[in-house]
Amino acid sequence: MMKQLVILSGKGGTGKTTVAAALAHLASRELPVVLADADVDAANLELVLDPVKQEEHGFMGGQVAVIDPEKCTTCGICAEVCRFDAVTPGDEAYRVDPLACEGCASCYYQCPDEAIDLEEQHAGMWFRSDTRFGPLFHAHLFAGQENSGKLVTLVKQQGRLRAVDTGAELLLVDGPPGIGCPVISASAGADMALHVVEPTVSGMHDLERILGTTDHFGVPSLVAINKADLNLARCEGIAAFCAERGVKVVGRIPYDTVVTEAMVHGQPVTDYADGTVTEALGEMWSRIRERLLSGREEQRW
């Protein structure tokens, strides 16, 4: 039975992608894995997995309104009904700011002169690539586009289909920061979330909110504390908080510049060098594996 693990954090830059790349490397040595990068506005997993693109597809996102200047009589109704301040008056015709337009079509229906059309937006690309750890599904949302949640869902579904078709045992999803729409899309259907947190006041604050989010959607959580030795008191504080909430801390990863070095060399840290970081990640993977893939644990959920 294929399992889906999503790596989240709430706060950005805590090490989600570093952990995801390491887990991809470690897990793929033991079982067949499919990878999905669900951080479509700033996809970084590809930078450390050396992917070779096999497929490339366009992504049609939302639509935006376009006003035909020939037909526009500058009556201004479009600007009146627009709640997103996307329509601005011009001398000859009104115009729509495509970045502000949410494609609601309110102006389209209210325009008395049928001067407005809706145009589908080519909002991004998605890819299937081969990596030495398994197939990677990833995407690129074009600058300033909406609908990142929809593209996240698409990338994840493609990964899921591939995993089911090929009998892979693990779909590993590298999630986006935050708690909003792309995070909710990345977590949907996950068997477990791994939250990567750093021992700071911000990290603690954001962990509470992301745990609230995954709880809300019924996804069980595990926690990894990254740069754990940066502030040992905060680290213990997070561990105590997790214990109180019944959330297991499966790893404490020490701070080490080897993590950045590995990134500069375009490799997962566990593949790049041995040492305390690689050791901590190895132990963490064993704990995750035990909780995620053993039949005994499965029954509890």
């Binding site: 950005g12 939302g62 609601c104 300033g144 935050g178 909003g180 911000s202 940066l230 950045t260």
Partner: protein
């Protein structure tokens, strides 16, 4: 002057730069001319600036979207509302009308198109906005409720609530969320300058490029860079900025004292007060770039 602090990649130090810029220019400081800066935490999914500034929030407001409510005395179940809704947020099934608030964008099109005026709108609360003050800084923040998907309406309403229509010389600092999608665009819209905080690593550079595409190429705003944790990775960010003619306005070295202060929620300028001057110089450099650009345009 409105400055949005953004980055693309998360955790590069947006909040550190935004908070310390505000503290260094706060009323009572030897400032560069702008008294009483206005600070907006626009990372409504994970707002952290208050952990450092510790403001007293005096006023709260619930915010959300106007979602449809159907008057069944008037509804004829014609289905027009569902037909015009681009988000599938309203559905008519037999003699039932279902509204899905988490899909609704609050555009009001269903209300306008209902032939029997059976729809009115009610507020669906998705978060809060609050404002207050701390040591010469006017502070405001938005907070998305846990489990809610849409950040943009909160950012939009926060800006409308606290930013004066003509800020003029008043310094307004917006701390944006990571990424490059719609919440970031909303935080940048209307700014005079976007300050990108990055780290000199391949991830930092990759996401900086994307954030520059949004701010400079899509929105046409001037941008400048702060390199944080300088010395940690490689030369990619420097090379990119030089090739793209993007000014590097400040460098904050990799320093364990800074990381430790951050971990405790202590602002950098409290631990290392010499940085105040550097942040004031950063502001002066931004102000010059904005003035030069306005001059060049006029």
């Amino acid at each position: 002057m409105i400055i949005t602090v953004a980055s693309g990649k998360g955790g590069t130090g947006k909040t550190t730069v935004a908070v310390n810029l505000a503290l260094s220019l706060a009323a009572g400081q030897e400032s560069v001319g702008s008294a009483n800066p206005l600070f907006l935490d626009c990372d409504v999914e994970e707002p952290n600036a208050a952990l450092f500034l510790k403001p007293t929030i005096r006023e709260h407001r619930e915010v959300g979207q106007m979602i449809p409510e159907v008057d069944f005395e008037k509804c004829t179940y014609c289905g027009r509302c569902a037909e015009v809704c681009q988000y599938h947020a309203i559905a008519v099934v037999g003699e039932k009308v279902l509204v899905f608030p988490e899909l609704c964008h609050g555009c009001g099109s269903c209300t306008l198109n209902c032939p029997t005026e059976a729809i009115h709108e009610v507020l669906d609360v998705i978060g809060t906005i609050g404002r207050g003050r701390v040591d010469g800084i006017e502070f405001a923040q938005g907070t998305l409720n846990v489990g809610e998907p849409m950040a943009v309406p909160i950012i939009r309403q926060l800006k409308q609530w606290v930013i004066p229509p003509q800020p003029g010389d008043r310094l307004v600092i917006l701390d944006a969320s990571p990424g490059t999608a719609c919440p970031v665009v909303e935080s940048m819209r209307g700014a005079d300058f976007v300050l990108m905080v990055t780290e000199p690593t391949p991830f930092g550079l990759h996401d900086l490029r994307l954030a520059v595409e949004v701010a400079r190429d899509e929105l046409g705003l001037p941008v400048g860079v702060v390199v944080n944790r300088d010395g940690v990775g490689d030369q990619g960010v420097d090379e990119y900025c030089e090739a793209e003619d993007i000014p590097i306005l400040m460098r904050i070295p990799l320093d364990r004292r800074i990381a430790e202060a951050y971990s405790e929620g202590t602002p950098l300028v409290e631990v290392l007060p010499d940085y105040r001057e550097q942040f004031q110089a950063l502001y002066a450099a931004i102000a010059r770039l904005v003035v030069d650009r306005k001059g060049a345009r006029a």
